[in-house]
Amino acid sequence: GDQVEQSPSALSLHEGTGSALRCNFTTTMRAVQWFRKNSRGSLINLFYLASGTKENGRLKSAFDSKERYSTLHIRDAQLEDSGTYFCAAEPMSNYNVLYFGSGTKLTVEP
């Protein structure tokens, strides 16, 4: 079965508002990454966390390995934030594998 459950699958925000994306894991993960898909479909790294929280501009991410989840918070959303966001997690048991969430399509409206 799927190791990573990402929600929501789609999210619509008005400019200036915020929300959170979440990934729940079925097993203990060593680290998590968050990506945004660019216009060519390539994934651009947003955060890499082994624990705790990181912040970059209007984005903030948290990872709790014990509680088996990670979040990506977006505040003061802008039109250019629209896109598809993915999380990916590394299991404790295997250095060679990444488990990906199914993605969240974010639409920011005026």
């Binding site: 789609a10 990454q33 898909k37 660019n38 216009s39 060519r40 479909g41 390539s42 994934l43 651009i44 790294n45 890499y48 598809t84 993915f86 990916a88 250095y95 060679n96 594998v97 990444l98 990906f100 199914s102 993605g103 399509k105």
Partner: protein, 116 residues
């Protein structure tokens, strides 16, 4: 669900040798990608490929790297010659549609390359 297969899961070679990493993408997908992840670091984009051409590549995609998908077979990443810093896990991904879609990327489980 659809799966991307990477073969082999682990490959060990001597520095200076050539290596080819193989990816069997989802059968009706058209866009293909390679990513590189050094142990303990974040995964980095290398290249994407469509209709027989490289569409976009990063600065990590050195001159020693090449990709191809001859006759709709495996999507391959060739490194010639290899260097010690090429040791990493390489992930292949594929998707059916481009930027106007909400299609997810499907990832393989990775090939660990060890260059000695």
């Amino acid at each position: 669900g659809p799966k991307v297969l990477q073969i082999p899961s682990h490959q060990i070679i001597d520095m200076g040798q050539m290596v080819t990493l193989n990816c069997d993408p989802v059968s009706n997908h058209l866009y293909f990608y390679w990513y590189k992840q050094i142990l303990g670091q974040q995964m980095e984009f290398l290249v994407n490929f469509y209709n027989g051409k490289v569409m976009e590549k990063s600065k990590l995609f050195k001159d020693q790297f090449s990709v191809e998908r001859p006759d709709g077979s495996y999507f391959t990443l060739k490194i010639q010659p290899t260097a010690l810093e090429d040791s990493a896990v390489y992930f292949c991904a594929s998707s059916i549609l481009d930027k106007f879609s909400n299609e997810r990327l499907f990832f393989g489980h990775g090939t660990k390359l060890s260059v000695l």
